[in-house]
Structures are given as C-alpha cells and as structure tokens.
Symmetry: C2
Subunit: 344 residues, 2 copies
C-alpha cells in the first residue's frame, strides 16, 4: 500500500461575478493510495500530467438549481479535461502505463470511477499536451461545431470570435481548408497578428479597439456573414445578427462574455433570426465524442503535414492553475491554456 | 375596354414606431382596365375578395437598406396575401373565373405579374376566407414551423405564444394531435378561454396579468419546455430560455413584440442555447410552399371531420383594412384577421 501526498485545487465557495484566484484553494493535506483496493471494478487510477483550462469551467463554479450542466461542490477538487498516465486499473480497457485523455480532476492523482469520456492515447509522436487541445475536447468542439453545425460550403463568409483561443484558432483553419473566407476577432494586437500571419485568417481585428462592432463587421463583410462561430455572446452577437446573410448558421459554442455577469446582457436584433431564416444551434461536445476516431483520421495527417498549427499557452505546476483559469476571462492566454502537473 | 374604379390602400410614408391608421391612405382615384392588353404573357388580373392582415406586413412598412425581406414603396398599394377571382389571364395555369389565393395587393383589382405564389383553389366546400388562414400562408407556417422545424415527439412539452392568433391556434391543435402537452399565452381573458375550451390547449394564461413570466412558465412547465413556437420575441423569449429542456427546439416564426420598437429589446439568457444544446431556427414560409399539396392532404380531412377548428376575425370593406392591421399590434383581433373586399 503506497500512500502519497495528493495536492488538489478545490473550490472555496460558489462564485458570483468575476472569479478570483482566491476562489480556489490549494489543498496539500490530501493523500491517496496508489493501488486500487482489491475487488474494485471499472475504476482507473491516474497520475495527471496536463490539465486543461476551459471557459465552461466557470459555469460549474456557480451555484445553480439547473442540473442540466452540473456544478462543482465547494471543498471538492475541480473537474476538467486532462492528459494522464494510468497508475492502476480495474477497467478492462485500460492498463498500468497507458496514456489517456479525458475527464479527470485538478489534483496530482485521480480515481476515475466511470471512465465514460476517457480515451486511450494511441499517437505519441505529437506533444502529449495536444490531447488537452487540438487532439482533445477543444479539437472535437471545433470539428463538430464547424463541420456539423455550420455545414460550410466553399466560398462562404465565416466569422469567428475569440478566434485565437483553443477552439477559435482551429475553426479559422478549418474554414480556410473548406475554401471559406474567414475573419476573426481577438482582444490584443499580438493575437490579431497571429490570426493573420500564423493561422491564415483572411482578416482579423481587435474588438477592444472597435467602437461600433456592427460597422466593423460591415467593413470586413460587405456581403454579409454566412457562418458565425460564436464563442463570446453579448454585444458581439448583437452586432453579428444584422450582418448575417439569409440562411446563415450560428454555432453557439460558448458565450464567455456572459459567464461572469450576475445577469447576462440583453442581446438585441434577434428578429434577424426570423427575417433571414437563421439557424442558431447550441451543442455539448461530449454528446458527439463517438465521432472522435473520424476526427483523428482527419486531423492527424494535417498536423503531420504541417497543414494546421496549434498554439498553446503552457504554465508549470498545479499551483499555477487558478491564475491560468482566471486569465481566460481577461484574455491573458495566447492560444490553448494548459497547466503542466507533471511531465511523466 | 372596360375601365373601372380601383380603390387602393397605399402607404403614406415609411413608419417608425407604432403604426397608425393615418400611415395608410385610401386612394379612390385610381382606375384599372379589366381586360389585359393584347400580347401580355403570364399575367393574371384578379378581383380581390379577401385580404389577410399579417404581422410581417409591419416589417415592410419600415424603410430598410436590407433587401433580404423587402419593403413597400410610399404611394404604392400594400402587398399581402389574399383570395381573389381571376378576371382575365394570359397565364396558362389560370383562366377567367378561377378562384385563387396568394400574393396580391390591397386594392379592388390587381394585376399579378409573376404569379409565383398564386395557387388555384380546388376545394370550395369550405369558407373561401380560410385560404387567407388555415388553408393559406398561416396554415403552411404552422405546419412547416411546427412539424418540420420543431420535429415534435409524443409526450413533449410545447409552449406557444400569441397562441390565439392566425398561426398559434393551429400550432396548439397540431401539438395536441401529435400527443404533446401544450400551453398557450394570449393577451385577453377571452382568448385564454378560447385556447382552453375551443382549441383544446392543456393550459393557457394571459401574459398581461403575469408579473414574472419566468415563474409563470415554471408553474406551467415544472419539467421544462421541449418546443417553443415563437411568435412574439422580447421578454417572452427571455423568460422561455431558462425554462427550456436539453435539446429543445425554438421555431422562430415571428417576433411581433419587436416590430414597432425603434430599437428592439435586449434578450437575456441566451447562454441557455449553449448549455442546453438548443436549436433556434427562423424560416420564411414561402420557401416551403412546394409542400402545400402535402399540407392540404393532411389538413382537409381534419377540417371536414371537425378535428380542427379555425376562428377568424372578419371585417367588411377595404376601407376597414388599416384599422384591422393596426389592431394586430394591440391584440384586438380574436383569431385570424381577415378583410372582406368583395364577396364574389
């Protein structure tokens, strides 16, 4: 019986408004037994290597009566996506030494009791951290949200908000691969440069420097927008709606601008949905994880041939996770925000 | 050459805000020749019998740069749906004496130059005015918007706003026929009674008497809403969103509460679209008129067997049309608003 320390990031209390680092506590008094008890079944014990900071985590820090999306429990560790190594397993699909990605917790070691969304990592000739991003949940989000929800056609006009983020950078590149014209918005000059020069967006702008987003979008899309990949909500959505073309599609992937508001912003211009026959569709990517093998078949060759790139913002140590998570909401991260818990 | 007077309702000026009767002018100085000129092709000259007052007409009274939905021209007659009798025709599909329904103008006689949306009336054993409603554009709207966009399943929970209107009364009855539980909202006690006692809605409420629509909907839908048939927009939509269930569908048919506002209301709670995987879909029913024969096959037996009912609010005379149209926006009409121009 090998008992070891198991540092954790736990939620202090439910959060309203903008989250702070002090809403999370580093608990270093917890311990864990590195052997599963005899007789356990379908349980996987993992050592966490990389953890993923994702905007949706903010939703789970809020107390809600609405169980549809779930919520964290104060005093318990955060849950989220990560890359891990199997230390012990009573699940037939996983054995000691396997590398996996999927839902884990914000701690050094985790016991995963119902490994529904745990995938064995087959390809290790790419950075392992990619399985928190391009080869993991955000990759599947971009893939499903763009190809399935938006059903892009060659020559269509695509707008992506939060375009330099974990999902947006991929959507823009998928749009280019589909023969679309794509414009992205981001919140710093550096990110705008990346969008244009690294990811190949046709155009990009810094939304913080624009005073009239409606006019900005008219300038970048004089013919209107066919596809909007929605990551931010609020005022951006309000400005996009009048610029949509007939039969346009909006993939409602996230609305990060709204997550920290006590009461979300009101969005005007929704009657464009009627008049222009728009379709706006939300989705939870976990419902489409059965398509992961198909996605891998598409994305791995693109990565290996250098036809797609992926930028990560990597911080070291579990203790860095709270600040990294908070940084998402001020746009501090450049690319996918990853936390290294251990390198092997 | 038979020259006759041709009274018309014309738009005085583009309208902002709540429309007034005085925004429309009865022009009684116009005349028309009741024989088409020799050599005309594909033109139909009709005598208008019934005209339809529909909320979307308000959108066309507003000046817009956006050509996607069109606009009227000041000094020209209103356009809209109606039932008419063919007086002369150079179109192979229509001959003198035919009864037709489709897009015509607000005048006694109209020349229809591109009869793309003109249907020959085959069944005259029902009130002719039905072709402005249950057997016309609003009927197709309810049919397509409910069955195709909402894809109802037996046992689902359906909410219909403006439920006593031309479209809503049908959606409620279609929902019952589909084995759904359906609740409607309307703006008077009389309409609420009709919804429950005449159309067979499970429940109905007067939204004007409710101070907290979110709480009202929670009361009527303790398990949440699967399908929302959206006719009003604004505050009602804002209250519906948190009450939607996962994978819910919103058919965005109209947003009458917004048409008279200089700047539409902001709608909160849109992040429920993401979190609950909602689909919100607008549509323009004319794009689906090819399905009209299929709809007729379904609806005619239901009417004849008394399994569906339809209430009309009929006013007499073209000169009554402006007040009838304005009445839609204060909810004055009970059922489908029809204007009788001539009985034969």
């Amino acid at each position: 019986m090998e008992q070891v320390k198991n540092k954790q990031i736990v939620l202090k209390n439910y959060v309203n408004g903008f989250p702070k680092e002090t809403d999370m506590i580093l608990n270093d008094s917890s311990t864990i037994n590195l052997n599963l008890p005899q007789g356990s079944t379908d349980v996987v014990l993992v050592k966490n290597l990389y953890l993923s900071c994702d905007p949706y985590i903010r939703i789970l820090m809020h107390e809600t009566e609405d169980a549809s999306f779930g919520t964290f429990t104060p005093g318990s560790p955060f849950a989220g996506y990560g890359v891990a190594k199997v230390v012990d397993s009573s699940h037939p699909k996983f054995k000691k030494g396997d590398l996996v990605w999927g839902e884990t917790e914000w701690e050094e070691y985790s016991i995963i009791k119902s490994p529904m969304t745990l995938f064995k990592i087959e390809h290790t000739d790419v950075p392992l951290s990619y399985y928190t991003g391009i080869l993991g949940m955000p990759g599947m989000t971009a893939y499903f949200g763009f190809y399935e929800i938006c059903a892009p056609k060659k020559g269509e006009y695509v707008f992506v908000s939060a375009a330099a983020g974990a999902v947006g950078q991929l959507v823009g590149q998928f749009a280019k691969l589909s023969g679309c014209y794509v414009v992205g918005s981001a919140g710093t000059k550096e990110k705008v440069e990346l969008l244009k020069n690294k990811y190949g967006f046709n155009e990009a702008f810094n939304y913080k420097e624009e005073h009239d987003l409606n006019a900005t979008l008219k300038r970048y899309f004089p013919n209107g927008i066919d596809i909007y990949f929605e990551n931010v909500g609020g005022k951006m959505l309000e400005a996009v709606l009048p610029n949509m073309r007939t039969n346009g599609r909006i993939s409602a992937c996230g609305m990060i601008s709204q997550y920290n508001l006590e009461q979300g912003e009101g969005v005007r211009n929704l009657s464009h949905i009627v008049v222009k026959s728009l379709r706006m569709q939300g989705f939870i990517v976990t419902n489409y994880f059965h398509m992961y093998p198909k996605y891998m078949e598409m994305i791995m060759p693109l990565i290996k041939q250098g036809k797609i790139c992926y930028i990560e913002d990597v911080v070291e140590g579990l203790e860095s996770a709270p600040a990294a998570l908070i940084g998402l909401f001020s746009g501090k991260n450049v690319g996918k925000q990853v936390v290294v818990v251990a390198r092997e």
